[in-house]
């Protein structure tokens, strides 16, 4: 375990994840939130904080926050309250961010993660609160000025705060991946880390193993890939141990991760941590979630990854590994289920084709399951041709490659390439006779007891039939013939 690498030291890690909600409009205004729009074309009077504007809360943002809360077994606040968090920065035109402080909408949940040794660990989720994102500041290219784009200002977020239950960088990554999969499954967040839809701040401290109290922690901001989170946390753990072992003390501060060097550096000291001067926002009334409302959302939750995995193992007889692969995304799972249903073929056979052949093609073509060159119905069509013995499994691979290259459906390709399996026994017998005539030495050898030569005959017959002979029939007829 990673802890042992640090000679008697233990890391204590808590993560804060900002997760952009997949709404059409902003949390407090009717402006759009499409990524990549021209600067400030999606920033209305509310987002610009012009005098006299008032926030009006987006019902779908509330619904998505509750959806998330229910999926992590959290409590949903009957009444939650928005608060103003004050700080001055030009991409925050109001001078405060509307967030939640004392009464967040979601609290006391948990997420189970799987560790490398196969055990499960529960990570507490302290809270998840609704808030608005800030705009974007650009310090380059404006000759000494800072450019402000407020398209992102007011984008709905939930900030998901974990308990300090995480003990290593690997656990942190396992937690983040699980959380990421969950919010994407739920349709709460698109999960796009490059575009900043899912970003992570890591609170890290170290202490001697067994020490009762936590050490002083630092916060590393905005780490935007799983790999960087792991590197940033590893670096921070080692740095803190080194500082303490050489007689120094850790300062509570905010640090930035530099992906080029793999190091973190101090950004600002957190001495003023309590100076956000939170107070309830008088522009917004308390939000009430009734039991009926919560129950309705609970009733509409999709099947979650773990439940789906268990069902795939049970109903389709899949191995835990295959079930995990096939449920890694909702779309892939739906694809697999459609293949099973449409083909009527063996579920394990379908699983092999999807998790091995299809994923390989997608990987090679750099495509997502949604852009698959072979639709579920098309793959089902191919597997039906194996099931009804039109083609062998080996020929099917060839047909599959052609389908991946966009040459058409299974039946078209089988026909165009003349790949129909030869089941006509007289044709196979003719091929066998031909091979035996051409290979008298091998026939004699086999009959003298060289059983291994059987494979040679199978190979020759398959070659003579361009791989189209039904393998079962070839085996059976060859045995008869060779027996003399």
């Amino acid at each position: 375990m990673a802890n042992d690498l640090h000679h008697g030291w233990e890391a204590v890690i808590g993560l804060e994840v900002h997760c952009q909600l997949m709404t059409h409009s902003k949390i407090f205004s009717g402006a759009a939130i499409q990524y990549g729009a021209e600067p400030n074309t999606q920033a209305c009077a509310v987002d610009l904080a012009l005098p006299g504007v008032l926030p009006v809360l987006n019902e779908d943002a509330v619904k998505k926050a509750v959806t998330f809360g229910l999926s992590v077994d959290a409590k949903i606040a009957e009444r939650c309250v928005f608060a103003r968090k004050h700080y001055f920065y030009p991409d925050l035109p109001k001078g405060y961010q509307i967030s939640q402080y004392e009464l967040p909408i979601v609290y006391e949940g948990h997420l189970d993660i799987e560790l490398e040794n196969g055990t499960t660990k529960t990570i507490g989720i302290t809270r998840a609160h609704l808030e608005e994102d800030a705009g974007k500041s650009m310090h380059e290219n404006f000759s000494g000025a800072t450019g402000i784009d407020l398209n992102r200002a007011g984008t709905p977020l939930i900030e998901i705060v974990s308990e300090p239950d995480i003990r290593s960088a690997a656990e942190a990554v396992a937690y983040l991946k699980k959380l990421h999969q969950l919010v994407v499954y739920l349709g709460v967040c698109d999960g796009n880390m490059q575009e900043g839809s899912f970003r992570c701040d890591a609170n890290v401290s170290v202490r001697k193993v067994g020490a009762p109290k936590f050490g002083t922690r630092t916060e590393t901001k905005n780490v935007n890939s799983f790999r960087y989170v792991e590197k940033a946390i590893e670096y921070e753990i080692s740095r803190q141990i080194e500082v303490i072992e050489s007689g120094g003390t850790i300062r509570q501060e905010t640090r930035l991760f530099n992906p080029d060097t793999g190091e973190t550096r101090a950004m600002r000291s957190k001495e003023d941590a309590n100076d956000y001067r939170y107070f309830p926002d008088p522009d917004l009334l308390p939000v009430v979630c009734t039991q009926d409302y919560i129950d309705a959302i609970r009733g509409s939750l999709p099947e979650l990854p773990e439940a789906k995995r268990a069902r795939f193992e049970k109903d389709f007889g899949l191995s835990p590994y295959d079930a995990k692969t096939l449920t890694s995304s909702r779309e892939l799972a739906a694809y697999y289920e459609a293949v099973v249903k449409d083909s009527g073929a063996d579920a394990k056979l379908c699983a092999n084709w999807v998790s091995t052949d299809l994923l390989a093609v997608l990987n090679k073509q750099g495509k997502d399951i949604n852009e698959s060159p072979i639709s579920a119905a098309a793959l089902a069509g191919l597997l039906q041709r194996i099931a009804d013995k039109t083609i062998s499994g080996k020929i099917a691979k060839e047909v599959f490659e052609a389908m991946a290259a966009g040459e058409g459906g299974a039946d078209d390709i089988i026909k165009a390439k003349g790949l129909v399996q030869i089941t006509d026994e007289s044709a196979i017998i003719r091929a066998i006779d031909d091979v035996m005539v051409k290979s008298p030495e091998q026939v004699a050898g086999y009959r003298a007891g060289k059983d291994k030569l059987f494979g040679f005959f199978v190979g020759q017959v398959m070659k003579a039939t361009q791989g189209k002979a039904n393998p079962d029939a070839v085996n059976r007829l060859l045995k008869d013939k060779l027996a003399g």
């Binding site: 709404t23 059409h24 409009s25 205004s29 009717g30 402006a31 759009a32 021209e38 600067p39 400030n40 074309t41 999606q42 920033a43 209305c44 009077a45 610009l48 009006v56 809360l57 987006n58 019902e59 779908d60 943002a61 509330v62 009444r79 309250v81 004050h86 001055f88 920065y89 030009p90 009464l103 500041s137 650009m138 310090h139 404006f142 000494g144 000025a145 800072t146 450019g147 402000i148 784009d149 407020l150 950004m267 600002r268 100076d275 001067r277 309830p280 008088p282 917004l284 009334l285 308390p286 939000v287 009430v288």
Partner: protein
């Protein structure tokens, strides 16, 4: 409860208010008066009274998730002190 001149300077700094040195005493006195009034309120027995987040006894109404605002950038930027390439310009800030 009374505020020290140092606390007044700190609060002013947080609110980005410029305070002349001779004003500090003046505001320290005034702000302390306000805090004394709040102190008086906090002597009231509120045992069993739920904290109130808003003076109105109402709940938040929600709006449907619909894009209702069109692009008004040209109008917005016509009243901005400085713009370039569609962005608002401010004096350079680097953390």
């Amino acid at each position: 409860m009374s505020l020290s001149p140092e606390q007044v300077r700190q609060v002013a700094q947080l609110a980005r208010l410029q305070l002349a040195p001779e004003q500090t005493e003046h505001y320290a006195r005034q702000l302390s008066n306000i805090l004394e009034m709040v102190d008086a309120l906090s002597r009231v027995d509120t045992e069993g009274v739920a904290p109130m987040a808003h003076p109105l006894d109402m709940v938040q109404r929600l709006r449907p998730d619909v894009v209702s605002e069109t692009d008004q950038r040209a109008a917005m930027q016509s009243i901005a002190p400085k713009v370039a390439d569609g962005v608002y310009l401010v004096p350079r800030v680097i953390e």
